[in-house]
């Protein structure tokens, strides 16, 4: 897939940069990269823009990543967009919850570019 328009949701701007860089290092040809600092901001971005991939933190102020993924199911132009959670919250219940709400993968911080590649490429259905 060419030009993967991507939404990165994390309350840390530094982490958003790192995630974007890791995606590029994974060989993914990124199109427009949108950023949001929490779930509410992410929903606002999705109301205006179409994306192919969402990477989302869990522990964020205002609206956390689990609530965001839950609400995403009701967003017509985004409900089928693959979501990969990237978070320090590696507990089993968070994983189960995120997957039950529709997330397609889960990466635990700290992470390497290889781990991003391993989890993101399959959900995009492309070869690196």
């Amino acid at each position: 897939m060419d030009d993967v328009h991507t939404l990165i949701v994390d309350d840390s701007s530094v982490m958003r940069r790192i995630v974007e860089r890791s995606l590029r290092q994974a060989g993914i040809k990124l199109g427009t990269v949108y950023e949001a600092g929490n779930g509410a901001e992410a929903l606002a971005v999705l109301a205006e823009h179409q994306v192919h991939l969402i990477l989302c933190d869990i522990n964020m102020p205002v609206m956390d990543g689990l609530e965001f993924v839950k609400r995403l199911a009701g967003v017509n132009n985004a409900k089928d967009v693959p979501v990969v959670m990237i978070t320090t919250e590696g507990s089993e219940s968070h994983v189960v919850q995120a997957l039950s709400f529709g997330a397609r993968g889960y990466i635990r911080k700290p992470f390497t570019a290889d781990q991003v590649k391993e989890h993101v490429i399959p959900v995009l259905g492309v070869k690196a």
């Binding site: 982490m15 940069r17 522990n59 320090t88 919250e89 219940s93 911080k109």
Partner: protein, 161 residues
């Protein structure tokens, strides 16, 4: 020192937790910045004027803090962002907050039975030349002193109850 996939029990002695905390910190610095943390050298003196804190609540209550100099935090941000040191601005606080977040999250994930029953706060960062951090934690404090790129780095876990 324990490895990335080693885990200890929640009720193990806090002595075990020190090495676990060190492994957690070393993994974060190695994976996110490509740096090895070195043993502390008391001869190196520096004003530690940036502190990042993340609270824990649940089966384990307390505060993890990461304390270093402004220059050290800027180097961390520079390495995490892969930008020149002089281009780092306000991002140093964000970077140190994320470091504390990853260290405590990594530590938490290494303790069996803690994952589902211990919540983390979002990080808070204090920058200044004259402040003291007082924790209401009433029990043991685990303190790690290390060197990051030749700069002192103090990681403290204050445990309540």
């Amino acid at each position: 020192m324990k490895g990335r996939n080693d885990r200890v029990d929640l009720h193990s002695t806090h002595q075990n937790w020190i090495s676990l905390l060190e492994v957690s910190a070393c993994e974060v610095f190695e994976l996110m910045m490509g740096c090895q943390l070195a043993p502390y050298d008391p001869a190196i003196q520096e004003t530690l004027n940036v502190t990042s804190m993340v609270g824990l609540a649940g089966k384990l209550c307390g505060v993890l803090s990461v304390c270093c100099s402004r220059e050290s935090a800027a180097i961390m941000a520079s390495k995490m962002l892969e930008v020149d040191l002089e281009k780092v601005g306000d991002q140093l606080a964000d970077a140190l907050g994320e470091v504390a977040n990853m260290v405590v999250g990594n530590f938490k994930n290494k303790i069996s039975g803690l994952g589902d029953s211990c919540m983390l706060s979002v990080p808070s960062v204090i920058i200044g030349d004259d402040y003291n951090v007082h924790s209401l934690a009433d029990s043991e404090t685990i303190e790690l002193r290390l060197l990051f790129e030749g700069h002192p780095l103090i990681i403290t876990l204050a445990i309540q109850g």
